[in-house]
């Protein structure tokens, strides 16, 4: 058995290592991913072991990184691209939205786009502007992309494996403030489906749905609620495109109440789609409207205010209470 305790960061590093090792077509590209091993050290040691030809320090130009990754994919490679921080993906947005996402459809299926775009995202690390954002909705809205985010080390390891194996472009959001959280990883396991949600905690009275960094907060909230006698189920969505609505629906049909939590702004965040669709699917089951807890319609604030901006235990519990009060 090969179960190891490791951090999410380490799990990602191991996962990249395995991919580079198994498939000679896999490449790792990005700013500072080589000698430095990335600003978060996710690619630590990879260039040393796989060479500059496979682990590529790129010029400082995100559009160029994704654009050349597309070309490499057309040549048969499977590039795994690193965007240094969430806020710096936008120069590449055109290449992602108009080219990467649409190439397979444009070619009527005759070319594939096995490109993974890794993006450390979210706040809570006390950073300066552009280093704490959660832009996932801006990708999930775009057809042709798949969008996922792991919440724990095991998922980090396996979801990245699966993303790299996917013939579709995957935007892989890494919960940067959880990079150092540890968990068990079974590197020999047979993983589940990449886009399937996971019931992270069972409960009967209300469902919390979240992904990435917010799963931990929701689990804590569920534990706290349990002390008050409220039984809260937590669904780790794992994928924002597609969203596994079936799992959420099954949970809500049981609990009859749903609160969606993410760091991204609530307005047109992933929670809006989940609220809309689950309300359609469970109209006669819901005892309360789907509530959402998330960021505000404001630029991500300076570090010394971010704790107020980020959904924390209290704000989630407040929403739980409000939902239960219906």
């Amino acid at each position: 058995m090969a179960v190891e305790k490791m951090s999410i960061a380490k799990a990602l590093n191991e996962s990249l290592r395995k991919a580079l090792d198994t498939d000679p077509k896999v490449l790792v590209m990005g700013e500072d991913v080589g000698k430095l091993g990335g600003v978060f050290r996710i690619t630590d040691g990879l260039q040393k072991d796989f060479g500059e030809d496979r682990v590529i320090d790129t010029p400082l130009a995100e559009s160029g990184i994704v654009g050349t990754a597309i070309g490499l994919a057309l040549r048969g490679y499977r590039p795994v691209v690193e965007i240094q921080f969430d806020g710096f993906v936008f120069p590449a947005y055109d290449q992602i939205v108009t080219q990467l996402a649409k190439m397979h459809a444009r070619a009527l299926g005759k070319v594939k786009m096995p490109v993974v775009v890794r993006i450390p995202y979210g706040g809570g690390i006390g950073a300066v502007e552009h280093h704490s954002e959660s832009p996932e909705a801006l990708f999930a809205h775009v057809a042709g992309l798949k969008v996922v985010s792991p919440s724990n080390a095991s998922d980090a390891y396996w979801m990245l494996q699966q993303a790299i194996q996917s013939d579709d472009p995957v935007i892989f959001f890494e919960p940067k403030r959880r990079y150092w959280d540890k968990g068990d990883v079974d590197v020999d396991a047979i993983p589940g489906e990449l886009h399937k949600a996971r019931v992270a905690r069972e409960g009967a009275d209300l469902t919390l749905a979240a992904y990435g960094p917010m799963v931990k907060v929701c689990l804590e909230a569920a534990a706290a609620a349990a002390e008050e006698g409220k039984s809260v189920e937590v669904v780790d969505l794992r994928s924002m495109s597609p969203v596994d609505f079936d799992t959420v629906q099954a949970s809500v049909e049981k609990t009859r109440r749903l609160v969606v939590v993410h760091e991204a702004p609530v307005f047109l965040g992933v929670g809006s789609e989940i609220a809309a669709r689950i309300t359609e699917r469970c109209f006669y089951h819901l005892e309360a409207p789907v509530l959402r807890v998330g960021g505000f319609h404001a630029p991500y604030p300076p570090a010394r205010v971010e704790e107020e901006y980020l959904p924390g235990l209290d704000r989630v519990l407040d929403a739980v209470d409000r939902s239960l009060a219906y």
């Binding site: 070309g71 459809a105 005759k110 042709g144 996917s166």
Partner: protein, 388 residues
């Protein structure tokens, strides 16, 4: 001192100016730098010790071949324009006037080279053996391209200006990784030179020494904007600042385009990295069939360029040199007619795609939401059939 300016640099044939000011730079632009030319508009061969050797192997037969390529491409193009007028196509982007640039560069390629076109490279497609009718699907509105790029190493047309130059660079990086000696050619326009992506492609290709030829067809216009809205110095000069050579060629001279592209491709194959070729040419027609060039350019300009027609000069040379006789021209005429007929027939027979096709190929590995929407839409359509 280390001041660098366009004006300070004196390419052998260009008319440099002395002082590095905005004004003199503008002057440098006005005084057109000379360009590589092997065949004059009048159909005379030009001595050029540097580039003539690159087409020394071109026999009369080959030249007739190039001529035929250009004539058939033009015919195809005219047919497509007519089909648009008849409502069979929604739009057409004519290459009229750019045949030499496209056939010359296209015929310089080897089968294993890879092409990244814009939306106007019908002549290059022809050289690659892409059936011309394949190109019409997207202009008719039945697909967004849809041919298999790998069957002729000819990528899909790219509409977002400049994007494909990065794809070309990445593809070329892949060739280098594979240790192959193929090369890539990326087409783009004078307007495209302003896009960040094109300049990033220059940076990436130089840094990785990628085997790519950037082939800029400077047809003088980006829709209604003349090249001066994009640059105040000749475009080929852009390359030097990124660390690779740039060269200007007479884009209406098929031999010069062939020679210069061969030279650039050889550099790429030899591991010498990227080259920028600026083919100086002219868009004889409208930007597309939606455009009305009378709003922004004078007839005289077009007329001046008509005298430099890329096809006429080859014909003149073939006739004068005895490289072709009337029979050749006649039989080409019939071939041309036949092509026109076939194009018309194929286009008119192109079926509209089924509505449900829009759910296909969104993903290679499937996507639950697409499946759900497909099922819902199918049920919705079925509800009409049931007379619902």
């Amino acid at each position: 001192m280390t001041v660098e300016s366009t004006a300070a640099r004196k390419p052998r044939r260009s008319s440099g100016t002395k002082r590095a000011t905005g004004k003199t730079a503008a002057a440098a632009q006005a005084a057109e730098p000379q360009l590589v030319q092997l065949l004059t508009p009048e159909g005379d061969r030009v001595e050029d010790p540097e580039f003539a050797p690159y087409v020394a192997d071109i026999s009369a037969d080959d030249l007739r071949g190039l001529y035929r390529d250009m004539v058939l491409t033009r015919r195809f193009d005219a047919e497509a324009t007519a089909l648009q007028r008849q409502g069979e196509l929604g739009l057409w982007a004519s290459l009229l006037g750019q045949e030499a640039a496209q056939i010359g560069s296209g015929r310089a390629l080897r089968d294993d080279d890879y092409v990244f076109p814009t939306y106007r490279e019908h002549g290059v497609a022809w050289c690659r053996g892409v059936d011309p009718t394949n190109l019409l699907g997207m202009f008719r509105g039945v697909n967004h391209g849809g041919w298999d790029p790998n069957s002729n190493n000819f990528h899909l047309y790219t509409i977002v200006i400049g994007s494909q130059t990065l794809h070309a660079t990445g593809y070329a990086m892949g060739i280098a990784k594979d240790g192959a000696d193929s090369a890539v050619i990326a087409y783009f326009g004078d307007g495209a030179s302003s896009q960040g992506d094109v300049n990033e492609a220059f940076t990436f290709s130089a840094v990785y020494n990628a085997p790519v030829v950037f082939f800029c067809q400077n047809n003088q216009w980006a829709i209604s904007e003349p090249t001066e809205r994009q640059t105040r110095v000749p475009l080929y000069q852009r390359a030097a600042g990124f660390g690779f050579p740039g060269i200007r060629v007479d884009g209406n001279d098929v031999l010069a385009c062939l020679a210069v592209t061969r030279w650039a491709l050889e550099r790429a194959r030899r591991g010498e990295g990227p080259t920028l070729v600026e083919a100086f040419t002219y868009r004889m027609g409208a930007h597309t069939t939606s455009d009305d060039p009378t709003r922004y350019r004078r007839d005289e300009e077009r007329e001046a360029w008509e005298a430099k027609d890329p096809i006429a000069r080859v014909k003149a040379y073939l006739l004068a040199s005895g490289g072709a006789d009337e029979e050749f021209f006649d039989s080409l005429e019939s071939e041309s007619e036949a092509l026109g007929k076939r194009v018309r027939e194929v286009v008119r027979a192109m079926p509209d795609p089924d509505g449900m096709s829009m759910f296909e190929n969104v993903y290679a590995d499937g996507h639950a939401l697409v499946d759900e929407e497909r099922a819902e839409f199918a049920a919705y359509l079925a509800s009409f059939e049931e007379g619902h």
